[in-house]
């Protein structure tokens, strides 16, 4: 085990090279719906129990099933109303279980990225080869069902190993060259994209996927009220929008169809989306588009700037 994963160097939030998003936008805004499949009877993992009560553990299983049966359409139609294409963090087994959902998202030109195969299969305890195979399976599944060359990764249930980011980037290159495996959502250290150190030296970035704006964190961990969640989203946006005048920022709302789509929560979410998309200088985009734009335009300058700030006194 390491003291620090070594993925990123310290990079202060001042005097960075200025980022200018397309059309002068101040904020790159993206919504990342997690579309997940949790198994009723998953195999045991040595380090993490999938469910808190003996099988069949209905409370957790059934709300997640609710998300796919009921919640997905509600969220999809709401995002569509505000001109937002989702960047889907996908349990890729869902391509087999619920192809109707995949088709609906394909029709809307949404992005699919890998969130593992099932959200009840954890990375913990996997050998490097096992994790590589799991990641490869997930990326091949996305390609087979959508034709998309998977660009991003969010480890299943946020379960990682020391190899996770390296493996994802390497498998992406093997499968799709420079188009595959270019960004991660697993790190929460910044409000702008940052270059990530990998053993392969591949050009690879972290795209902010805010844990604080995540509906599950808001509703389940922090237990906040729906209206307060809506208010937090607006306030998060206000500050990133203001700061984006100096250098472009990123705002992400990660969602789950079994949290944000409940009838008692939709109003607050809609008000927040209406507020954000009502501003002029917002680039409503996807994770892949942000990553590609940054790699094409700011990656090299950022690497040089970070390097210049590692000098000791």
């Amino acid at each position: 085990m390491k003291e620090d994963p070594g993925y990123f160097d310290y990079w202060p939030y001042e005097n960075r090279p200025k980022i200018e998003w397309p059309n002068g936008a101040k904020v790159a805004f993206w919504v990342a719906p997690n579309i997940e499949f949790y198994e009723l009877n998953p195999p045991a993992n040595p380090q993490r129990n999938p469910w808190p009560t003996p099988a069949p553990s209905l409370p957790g299983y059934t709300v997640r099933d609710w998300g796919n049966r009921v919640g997905h359409i509600r969220q999809m139609e709401l995002l569509e109303k505000y001109g937002i294409r989702g960047s889907i963090s996908l349990s890729t087994a869902l391509c087999d279980h619920h192809p109707e959902i995949i088709e609906l998202c394909k029709e809307r030109n949404w992005e699919f990225f890998s969130h593992g195969i099932y959200n009840t299969r954890y990375t913990y305890g996997m050998s490097e080869d096992q994790e590589r195979s799991m990641i490869r399976d997930s990326m091949e599944t996305i390609y087979k069902h959508t034709g998309q060359k998977c660009a991003g990764y969010l480890a299943p249930a946020l379960s990682h190993s020391d190899n996770t980011l390296d493996l994802f980037a390497e498998v992406g290159t093997e499968l799709f060259g420079d188009e595959g495996g270019i960004y991660t959502c697993d790190l929460f250290h910044d409000d702008q994209p940052t270059p990530i150190h990998l053993r392969s030296k591949k050009r690879f970035v972290s795209i902010p996927y805010s844990l604080e704006m995540n509906d599950t964190i808001a509703y389940v961990v922090n237990k906040i009220e729906p209206r307060r969640y809506g208010q937090q989203i607006k306030e998060n946006f206000d500050r990133l929008y203001a700061e984006g005048a100096e250098s472009g920022t990123i705002m992400c709302i990660p969602t789950h169809n079994y949290q944000v789509s409940y009838p008692h929560r939709m109003k607050a979410f809609e008000e927040a989306l209406d507020y954000i998309t009502g501003h002029d200088d917002v680039w409503v985009t996807t994770g892949r588009e942000i990553a590609e734009f940054f790699l094409d335009n700011y990656y090299d300058a950022s690497v040089a700037d970070i390097s210049s700030k590692q000098r000791t006194a």
Binding site: A55, P59, T62, V70, M134, M266
Partner: protein, 308 residues
């Protein structure tokens, strides 16, 4: 470090669910439902009438809302009984004031030991469903199928005898089940149950003894889940259920009849400082155009007639 290779077997990775209890379907793809008299939003107010034994076994877990202190946990025992003595009578007044037709999910043990309360409910003529024997009688695989069948039979038969109603509905304590529970419920004459919170509308659920109807009793808007579990204010609970009512009412305009299910506990919302919040929510919801306050059984009956 390595995991057994079976960790990478995915035996159910194919179309539909990873079990065979019901077919996979999205709500938006189903046939639209029309409620009686052109109503749009069915209001199902479900009131659990519960008995939490002082000598709780807590198998396989302590039931939420149950005893948490060393024996004898008088604080939780008596606070839950408060609901059956005081809170419920405040509820009944509120229901009558706003024309709400409730459904009572009753622990059979409570019906056995509280004839006055039982009579208060039976005399109203409202629907009663079985909420298991008592709150510490949790249904789980450790019981074994025969013992669980005895438990269900005792719970249902006794409640039928005491109420004179042909009990057709079921809500498991803590919404917990064994793998056999749905099969055993169907074998004991149950028609609908509310343990699976995976839909906003009823659907048919397969058992080895014919189909049950799964009735959608959302946990997420329960008073206990919101006010106790999430520690939201009572005002926020009112706001949330009213937002839910507005959302579902609007959805019903384009997608057919919807159901607002409120599961509310007399020991929680029946407190003096909370009852006005329930009244406020009911005042708002019952004033919505197209609301149909109905029992779970009547909602199921209307729904199932339209499934042919």
């Amino acid at each position: 470090m390595t995991l057994d290779k079976s960790y990478f077997d995915y035996p159910h990775r194919s179309y539909g669910m990873d079990h065979d209890r019901y077919d996979w379907s999205m709500l938006s793809d189903r046939k639209q439902v029309q409620w009686p008299e052109g109503k749009k939003l069915a209001l199902w107010v479900n009131v659990p009438l519960q008995f939490f034994p002082l000598n709780q076994k807590g198998e396989p877990f302590k039931v939420p809302g149950g005893m948490t202190m060393p024996y004898p946990d008088l604080r939780h025992f008596s606070l839950r009984q408060y609901g059956n003595r005081i809170g419920i009578y405040r509820f009944l007044k509120a229901f009558d004031q706003y024309g709400v037709k409730p459904t009572f999910a009753m622990n059979t043990r409570l019906a056995e030991t509280n004839p006055y309360l039982l009579n208060s409910i039976v005399e109203r003529g409202d629907e009663i469903s079985c909420h298991g024997y008592h709150m510490d009688a949790i249904h789980w695989n450790g019981l074994g199928k025969d013992a669980e069948n005895e438990l269900i039979k005792k719970s249902v038969d006794s409640l039928r005898n005491l109420t004179g109603q042909d009990i057709k509905g079921w809500l498991s304590p803590a919404k917990n089940e064994s793998d056999d529970t749905p099969d055993l419920l169907a074998a004991n004459g149950i028609q609908y149950f509310s343990d699976w919170v995976n839909d906003d509308m009823p659907y048919q659920f397969r058992t080895s003894n014919g189909e049950l109807t799964a009735m959608p009793l959302s946990t997420e808007t329960e008073d206990y889940f919101v006010i106790n579990g999430k520690q939201h204010s009572e005002d926020s609970w009112v706001e949330q259920v009213c937002d839910a009512a507005d959302f579902l009412r609007k959805e019903a305009d384009t997608q057919g009849g919807r159901i607002l299910a409120l599961n509310i506990h007399p020991w929680l919302l029946g407190q003096p400082h909370r009852i006005a919040k329930l009244e406020k929510a009911l005042e708002y919801i019952t004033a919505i155009d197209g609301i149909w306050s109905a029992s779970a059984g009547d909602i199921r009956k209307s729904w199932i007639q339209q499934q042919a």
